[in-house]
Symmetry: D3
Subunit: 208 residues, 6 copies
């Protein structure tokens, strides 16, 4: 990118169009995680820097080890973060104040601060424990109806960028088909079978 931006003798606007296409390509790579119809879990150990932060902000849930650390690094490279951190981090954490400090200073922050501000959902003592935790979480999600899981992710993605009213409209249009799924009956039967005991019996939903 540096090479592209600084090439001698070329017209500023022509370089600009190439840079735009290149940034768009990188943005698409990151956004494809968000657009994945299934939830994506990020597991962070060691440093998560620059594009690493862009990446994990496009995931649904984030875990890390107790020695993980994070930096919104782009300001130290002379540029504004352009792969999604400035757009998604304030929504992930809901704290514009904290995000601004991080983005203006490139201050390093640790696992504890990431947890307190809501960037990560859990801190695990070791990389192994984190991997186990992530897989266990993934298993729980995978045991649910895929129609329900993918519908929930679609709704959360949509609602983030629309008004509550628009989100409700989309939800009832979505459910015109989704509520007719056989999964509703299967899940209801399983829930009835389990009573109020709060456990989930494995149920076999068809693949989506």
């Amino acid at each position: 990118m540096a090479h592209m931006a600084q090439q001698e003798g070329e017209d500023v606007a022509r370089r600009a169009f190439k840079l735009k296409a290149f940034v768009e390509h990188l943005q698409e790579c990151v956004s494809s995680i968000e657009r994945c119809s299934k939830p994506v879990i990020a597991a962070v150990r060691g440093g998560c820097v620059g594009a690493g932060v862009d990446l994990i902000c496009a995931c649904d849930i984030r875990l890390c080890t107790h020695d993980a650390w994070f930096t919104v690094k782009e300001i130290d490279l002379g540029l504004a973060a352009d792969l999604g951190t400035l757009q998604r981090l304030p929504r992930v954490c809901g704290n514009e104040s904290w995000v601004r400090e991080l983005a203006y200073t490139a201050r390093r922050f640790d696992a504890r601060e990431a947890y307190e501000r809501g960037l990560v959902s859990a801190i695990e003592p070791t990389a192994e424990a984190m991997r186990d935790g992530a897989l266990k979480l993934a298993s729980v999600i995978a045991s649910k109806s895929p129609v329900a899981v993918c519908g929930t992710k679609a709704a959360l993605n949509y609602s983030r960028d629309h008004s509550v009213e628009d989100g409700l409209v989309m939800q009832r249009i979505w459910n015109m088909a989704a509520l007719q799924s056989e999964d509703v009956g299967i899940a209801a039967a399983a829930a009835a079978h389990m009573g109020g005991r709060g456990k989930t019996q494995p149920t076999a939903f068809s693949k989506l």
Copy 2:
């Protein structure tokens, strides 16, 4: 709803239209709390599950007892929550990460977690204490100018779903009439009378 969705022999699209109408009706029931011109306080004891979470998210302020617990349960019924939780909970708490975990897993969480994430404003030891707390809070709000209270709720509802600039425009149009209220003078006089002592003397505002 299950009955409606699974009826044999009917056309998929015709069932779909009926389901949409039914979900819209239920959504309206929940949204009517949000549209109520006065603030609404929710007091939760015991389990708050599924539609219960939809309901309290449409309220202004939430209290709970220390033994209350919560579940975004819909995924266990094979469907995406469709009465507002997926739209409102991320805005109530400002933590998309936490909401996603709850919505994908139907994990049960307790009063402490609800408080730390901002879902409830206070935890009370007993149901009686909670009722007293809710009534006291309601009394404080009821002692204020109803023109000011209803104007504040209208502004907060509007601003949540519009840009800051749009919110400011709405506010100054709203205040074209509201600032001419006699309540402004009454409140100013009461404030002057109380000096800087930070207490509020009962003032008698007309009913709205």
Copy 3:
């Protein structure tokens, strides 16, 4: 304003137009902080009341002393806060629930609560320590590329009020010019020189 609103004998609509113009003027004063191309740091000691809260919400980062206190006071004056608190505070803190309680009750809250809810980024023991902290933070930001800092603020302001997708589009258009800055090369060279040691050597960027 009270004088303007209560003038005898004038037409309600004509008073309304004057009030709107006056509120717009005051809103512009507050919004000009937000529109300042450089980050603005607020340092609060003592009471921060009414318009004070409007003001600090339009800043990028907030610090306070341990004895600072805050009140969203307007409801006690018989009006809805109209200079930005109701629009910006929910976005600064990401906790609509807390904001509603404060706005409906005019409850006073202290530095600790402001910190826990994310309104302020740090609490300092004394006014001197706070001034030093604010200046140190400002120095760190001032040592970064001004092209990167101003680009980051522009992106954060824009993204707050647009969808993630709109924010990404704006970012790549902005970077058509910004990535061609000499600052990118200067910052990259400085970063390379510093190795992975996590410190930032002073680099001399041209004024913007």
Copy 4:
């Protein structure tokens, strides 16, 4: 409304809240036409003035007799049209310039001008011819699949107020259920039977 607005001795803000509720009620009456799931055809003869224009703008298609005339009359009553003309007429006609002239001057315009600017779709010589035309148009629409007709109206209403991209997203979610309708097969069979001759054979779709 005049009575409500001018009542002596009442607080300006309290009158304001009553007026808002009253206008909202009237707006809902007009908007209910737009929200009707089936297309609505307006047939105008004689004068269509003030609220009449609000009303026909909420319809899908408008016909008139050659001696019909129209006025956006509200400015002559000392108020801005508040039941939808200022919102819908620019979208119905797509000519902001013409709408502004009409709204500022309350100028009367005739059937010919209404047709040329796209407000009405056809001019009929007599009231009888117009009624026949409207009924014939309604019969054509009624002969189509109700799933397709209602889906088309829902899409047009939604798309008018959303971006093209948002409209496309809504459309594909809607069609998740609608494309599974038996009507698709029935209509395809009927179309095949008719060949390329451009006529539509009566087909019997179930009621929606």
Copy 5:
């Protein structure tokens, strides 16, 4: 601007910031016409080229002489029109197709085409006739209630950039104060006095 854009030896990004500030300043000049609380009438004779088109698109109503001509000229200067033509012309005329052809080719078009596409509301034979026509139109508007005229312009500006629903909400909030104006009574009395005869008697409204 050319001078600013091509200055040797300066950093691309620093030039970019200066250009942005300069374009913003020019845009504000044009937009101030649109923001003027009263309607603005443009009268065009001779050529209306480039910034001239930007200017008249920010007006409410446009007249021209029969020999007037127009060009969206910027493409011939190697740039995209940046003072509002590309944003406002499609809304003024409601014909995206025509606008695109004009903007891509800088084709000159005459008064007749401008009238047919809705850019101008009337064509006058001479400059004097046009001046008279514009003044007469202005007089008609000036004879109406200024509360109603300014409210109508505010509503049309707002509604152009918001959904119908948002426009209706704004309208009823605006009318909380505006319907309490003495102008409503004055206008109603004048209208009653005139009967159904369709003329407007001069009424004396206070200045706004």
Copy 6:
């Protein structure tokens, strides 16, 4: 698609997900024309039906022969048009009224009506004349600065779906780089050379 929608024995929701993916794929094909950075000209002869109308609405400019005809055909297939006609046609023509009639009735309309409503920019007597006309128009556009042409298309696409204010903001950010193009100087020099004579001398801009 029909096959996909009607497959026996499969779960409604699972079919729904496949249909959504399929429609999205087709929508992308059509939208790629709109996203093409250069203007696209459609030339229509004979019938333009269903997906044909979706396709030409995603183009920038449309020409047709005098015997061309058009139908928004989807309603006769039992479905709502889902590849963009319902979203784009009202914006291309700016006449919601006409679009609704066409979409509800699948009425066939001819070249003359398409021209009068603004769907096509010109009608040519023969297919050869149309091809020549399209190529000539393309040549005129190709003779302009590609930086200016692509910038104009990007602005028109963006402005269609955003407020005027958002469009102006995007424009000045875009021009941060574009105004530094060598094309501005080349075009200015050519314009100066041509004087006020209104012709365009061929100028050689670099490829983009």
